[in-house]
Subunit: 344 residues, 2 copies
């Protein structure tokens, strides 16, 4: 099936959710991947892709390598392959590969095309769609980057067969995020169907991608609605930061963050206890963590201000309104947040 994402300035593109088709490019192509994905799937990809000149750039696997140094490795590969302005980058891997390849494409010779072939559930349902690119640095996550839309996204759920169970759960957290924020029918469906059942996964991917496409087409550069996709992330980023990005996968931290946002929503009367429980149950069904022991509530709160989504010392929270709707607000009192945090 195909989901179209409608954007201005010739930025529109299609997301193909199907077995990877044969791809042929009459231009130079560099595929960016990592050793893990390459080991499982590179031969398969090679059988599917032809180009005028095809070369490969393998970067180390893991969030800790999502930095300027690795970005320079990708750029160096592009120069060595003598890519020109008409050449193409292919991101073949998870969210880290996608974000860094997109960023490299956006600044190589002031911008060339790239496509996404995401191989993790998290990147298939979320990261590969929408054109956010970036790298981390000592100040935080994704603080340097660009908006650069891919020319196409090819999502083949067969790649998920080699995905570790924890990473699958981390991806499901983002699926649940979409449902809670935007689509109560989808949430109901998720409660009734197991995504580990092969027949269901493409439906869940499609629903998630449709939701994301809708949000991004309304607000490409996150000046309003798109911020809602950060539900769970305001808290999640702090958890990742406090644990040095080592204890939790991104999606896992988001899962915990959603539970914190829900608790705040319940306190403020935006969500019922029963709805909060339903979300928690769904997360637990996939072994996604839902609690985190906070050592120092004040310190946790201070960490919000390191996050780029806050501006002028106001923190932006995304709070669910029941299930299927949400609100973006920077008017939450510190006391309310801290009280919730103390309860965790």
């Amino acid at each position: 099936m195909i989901v179209k994402i409608d954007l201005s300035n010739d930025n529109s593109y299609k997301i193909y959710i199907e077995k990877l088709q044969a791809l042929s490019f009459d231009r130079k192509v560099v595929v960016v991947t990592n050793p893990t994905i390459a080991g499982f799937h590179l031969e398969y990809l090679k059988s599917k892709i032809t180009a005028k000149e095809l070369s490969f750039c393998t970067i180390p696997d893991g969030e800790e390598y999502k930095n300027m140094k690795t970005l320079e490795m990708i750029l160096e590969s592009c120069f060595e392959a003598k890519l020109d302005r008409k050449s193409l980058l292919v991101a073949f891997g998870g969210g880290v590969i996608g974000d860094m390849t997109g960023f490299a494409a956006s600044i190589y010779q002031r911008g060339i095309d790239f496509i996404q072939i995401p191989t993790t559930l998290l990147s298939q349902v979320d990261a590969s769609v929408g054109g956010k690119t970036g790298i981390n640095n000592k100040f935080g996550k994704n603080l340097v980057g660009s908006f650069h839309q891919p020319k196409a996204v090819y999502i083949d759920s067969n790649f998920l067969k080699t995905l570790p169970k924890r990473e699958f759960g981390a991806g499901v957290a983002e699926v649940i995020k979409m449902a809670v924020c935007f689509n109560s029918d989808f949430f109901d469906w998720l409660e009734k169907n197991d995504l580990r059942d092969e027949k269901n996964i493409d439906i869940a991917i499609q629903k998630s991608v449709e939701t994301k496409a809708y949000v991004v087409s309304i607000d490409e550069k996150e000046q309003g609605l798109r911020a809602a996709l950060n539900y769970g992330h305001t808290f999640g980023h702090v958890i990742e930061n406090l644990t040095n990005y080592k204890t939790y996968l991104h999606g896992e931290a988001v899962g915990i963050g959603m539970c914190m946002a829900n608790a705040l929503a319940v306190k403020l009367g935006l969500m019922t206890k029963e709805q909060e429980q339903r979300v928690e149950n769904l997360l637990k069904k996939y072994d996604i963590p839902t609690t985190y022991k906070i050592e120092d509530v004040e310190d946790f709160y201070e960490h919000f201000f390191l996050d780029k989504k806050s501006s002028n010392s106001k923190i932006k929270f995304i709070l669910p309104v029941g299930i299927g709707d949400c609100k973006i607000t920077d008017e939450i009192k510190k006391d309310d947040v801290c009280e919730i945090l103390k309860g965790f």
Copy 2:
């Protein structure tokens, strides 16, 4: 006087050519400059600018520092000043400062605003207008960067009073470039008027900026016409590269490059000998170099392929058609180019 540059997607902006007005910003601002400009003009700038929070980032002076390391210094200053998505960068200096500040602005938190206050003639007539940003690396010049338009450009020719004579000449080379490519009346005017005469300089800046604004508004991302602004640059970049960016200022290398392009145009019947001489005379009037001793013609030719403007092994030449018009072509025979180079 004000020149407006019309672009799509809210990218339009105004170029103010006048004594610097008082500027007031209700947001955090970081001014990027270098020790040379700061020494001459920073106190003056401070007397003109107010902001919610104002800080300064001083980077080393010179083309050799236009690299990733210095870019990271600028980004670090932004993080330390805790700039948010609504903050502003100010480029206060020549082309290097402008290109790097613009690039930093385009990738800091996926893009924030910046303005240009150019202090060299070259940046006033050319580099500060049009949104090309970038850095150099071992593969060549401006090979990593972005298109990111400033929100405004403030051109005050009073800053030129402290500009070394050679740098003034290098700027004039770009003024002559605009006239030869696009405007024969302007060229005639340049022959009759001396830019070292204070009353003439604002007129020359205005004419140059109007020309650039016209070209960029038609072709913001250099998919066609804008390439004409690279007249003299195809050859000039090779000269800069072969001399390790040390012998010639950029504008000087462009001056020599224009003479090479003219010689090629004469050979191909696009320009008369007399027209070629008029351009050369004008360059010489400002002591801009017009010759370069080529040691190895084959090697010089090979260097074209390092330049990003070439694609698929075809080199794009910008050749004047008489004075006031030009053509962009990638159909020039190697033999013709080499014959011209041998004559230099």
